[in-house]
């Protein structure tokens, strides 16, 4: 297929439509996504000569991928709400809030470790919605609180929400999870080290960072490096366990005398921006409604379920074969000769999928809360309503963008885009891979959707340039992950929760420099890996 400027512009129209509608017209992803789908459909038929059989097949393939991701998303949403509805999330937060008066440790505890844990179990802006009010309740200035929660959770989004974004990258690129995980883990680890420091810097600049550099590095290194290792073992648990490790490490640090002397506490308070009245600033005065271990019981269940399935011989294979979703396709091609070879869609084991584990843990959690008398009558109805309200819009956005992405790939539009970019920028392009990921997350408010839109594109560019597809895909998702700190949809969640509606610009002004700096650092590191250190990685 010959690349020409007209076709390149046409191929970029679906993505441009989403960008313009979301950024220019402030449309939500659930409205812009379907519009992008229609644009892709029209361009595929009229310009790229795709027939309707081909489009039917690509939609069916897209469905399997959407199902794969949504299964995790809905399971995570259910589990989070089971704990939240009983006051469990508040109790977990209150336990950690009570541990120290040192502001930098409090910030690391709630604004970095706890929001990472929340990202591990929920996503959808929950870390910002829950973390920012807690920080204000601890005395942090509202704009700083929202910015810190955004920065503190952003690094871990790829493996967050039970690795939904990682799953989407894997599905969009066709690369295996085992091959992708170490490279994604590497970039995310690097991002984590910086995000820990940036969160403290956002609170009190270099003064706070100098004061808190040791605990910041201890916490961020322990969280990031553990995430790298866990991601290679079980990606779904990486962010979740890394957040727990961060909370434990910070809890241990909060017992260290040197951080709890009167002078250290005062110095930490004078280093940054605090508010005089957390209540009028819509902070949250949290209450411990149940013991920590009880609140955490559904998450303990999740860990036990995963360990049981992975380590008891035969269980995983048995579950995998119980019920499988997999579709087979013949070869088909467009009128311009772009061929999609015969093959199968990805395979989804209905009972062995990460989403299934989340459903099991949710039901066990309900049973535990019920046995302890915490689960009251009427809570199930409230739970279903919260889950449905929380999941429908994001699922529409994800599904429509996944279907759009598959139409683009199978009609040759993604190849056209990739070839144009590779021809124009050549070997300089990899520096910008994370920035493309950031752009996707900024537009769609989601690392998952960023990977869906740009994952296949990045791999095609890598193939054309003859560089590693694994490293390119990993740099893409790292960019998508950190782009969450800029995404208007997440910023609005934070500002609206703490009564800062209309001041989103101040928050974005604070997170923008960290996001762009980090994206460029990741881009340069990626370029060095692609062209110097890891040239032989495929």
């Amino acid at each position: 297929m010959q690349v020409n400027f007209f076709m390149w512009i046409c191929a970029s129209l679906p993505i441009l439509a989403i960008l313009i509608l979301m950024v220019g017209f402030k449309w939500s992803a659930s409205k812009a996504g379907p519009t992008g789908f229609f644009v892709a459909l029209a361009v595929a038929v009229l310009v790229f000569k795709a027939n309707f059989h081909l489009l039917a097949n690509s939609n069916a393939k897209g469905f399997v991928m959407a199902f794969y991701v949504l299964y995790i998303v809905w399971g995570a949403l259910l589990l989070y709400n089971v704990v939240d509805i009983t006051g469990g999330i508040e109790s977990i937060g209150a336990t950690f809030m009570a541990m120290t008066k040192n502001k930098i440790l409090q910030l690391l505890m709630i604004g970095f470790a706890f929001v990472t844990f929340l990202q591990g179990v929920a996503g959808f802006g929950v870390p910002v919605a829950v973390g920012a009010p807690l920080l204000i309740g601890m005395g942090f200035d509202p704009v700083t609180a929202v910015a810190v929660a955004l920065i503190g959770h952003a690094w871990a989004v790829t493996f967050g929400d039970m690795a939904a974004s990682f799953a989407s990258l894997q599905q969009a690129t066709g690369l295996s999870a085992a091959d992708l995980a170490p490279w994604c883990g590497f970039f995310i680890t690097l991002a984590g080290i910086f995000c820990g420091m940036f969160a403290v810097h956002a609170y009190g600049g270099t003064k706070a960072l100098r004061q808190g550099i040791v605990p910041t590095l201890v916490v961020s290194l322990s969280m990031s490096i553990s995430l790298w290792f866990i991601a290679q073992w079980e990606p779904t648990l990486a962010t979740f366990l890394s957040g727990i490790i961060g909370m434990v490490v910070t809890a241990v640090l909060s017992r260290v005398k040197v951080y709890n002397t009167e002078a250290a506490v005062e110095a930490s308070a004078s280093a940054g921006h605090l508010t005089s009245n957390p209540v009028t600033a819509k902070g949250k005065v949290v209450e411990k409604k149940m013991p920590f271990n009880l609140a955490f019981a559904p998450y303990y269940s999740l860990i036990i379920i995963v360990l049981f399935v992975k380590f008891v011989p035969g269980v995983e294979d048995w579950l995998k074969n119980l019920l499988v979703l997999k579709l087979k396709f013949g070869e088909y091609s467009t009128g311009l000769g772009w061929v999609t070879p015969a093959g199968s869609s990805t395979s989804v084991g209905i009972f062995s999928h990460a989403g299934a584990f989340l459903f099991y843990a949710s039901f066990i959690g309900i049973l535990i809360y019920r046995a302890k008398g915490i689960w009251k009558a009427g809570m199930f109805k409230k739970l279903l309503s919260k889950v449905v309200k929380g999941g429908v819009n994001s699922s529409i956005a994800t599904t429509s963008m996944v279907l759009m992405a598959f139409i683009m790939v199978e009609s040759g539009m993604t190849y056209m885009l990739a070839k144009g970019v590779a021809d124009a920028l050549g070997s300089i392009y990899p520096i910008f891979i994370p920035l493309v990921g950031v752009l996707g997350a900024f537009m769609t408010g989601s690392n998952t959707n960023s990977n869906v839109m740009f994952g296949a594109f990045q791999v095609q560019v890598a193939n054309i340039l003859g560089i590693s597809t694994l490293i390119s895909a990993a740099a893409q998702t790292a960019g998508g992950s950190i782009g969450s700190m800029l995404a208007p949809s997440k910023v609005i969640v934070g500002t609206s929760t703490v009564g800062l509606t209309g001041r989103e610009g101040e928050v974005i002004g604070k997170t923008l420099r960290y996001c762009v700096t980090l994206a460029l650092i990741l881009g340069i590191v990626g370029w060095v890996m692609l062209f110097i250190l890891c040239r032989h990685v495929y």
Partner: protein, 56 residues
């Protein structure tokens, strides 16, 4: 468009349509070369995609 009130039930049906049409209508239609089923599949998919644009 942004001023219109969103309908959660309608959006739920739209999502269901997006998830049902490709595997249960479009895919079997291609396999069995059934044009009528394919037309129905596209209709369901297009209507499901239009709902969020106008009611989202």
């Amino acid at each position: 468009m942004s001023g219109k009130k969103s309908s959660p039930v309608l959006l739920g049906f739209a999502l269901l349509g997006m998830l049902i049409a490709p595997p249960l209508l479009l895919y079997p239609a291609v396999i069995k070369e059934n044009v009528a089923l394919e037309v129905i599949g596209y209709l369901v998919l297009v209507i499901s995609m239009l709902i969020p644009i106008f009611k989202g």
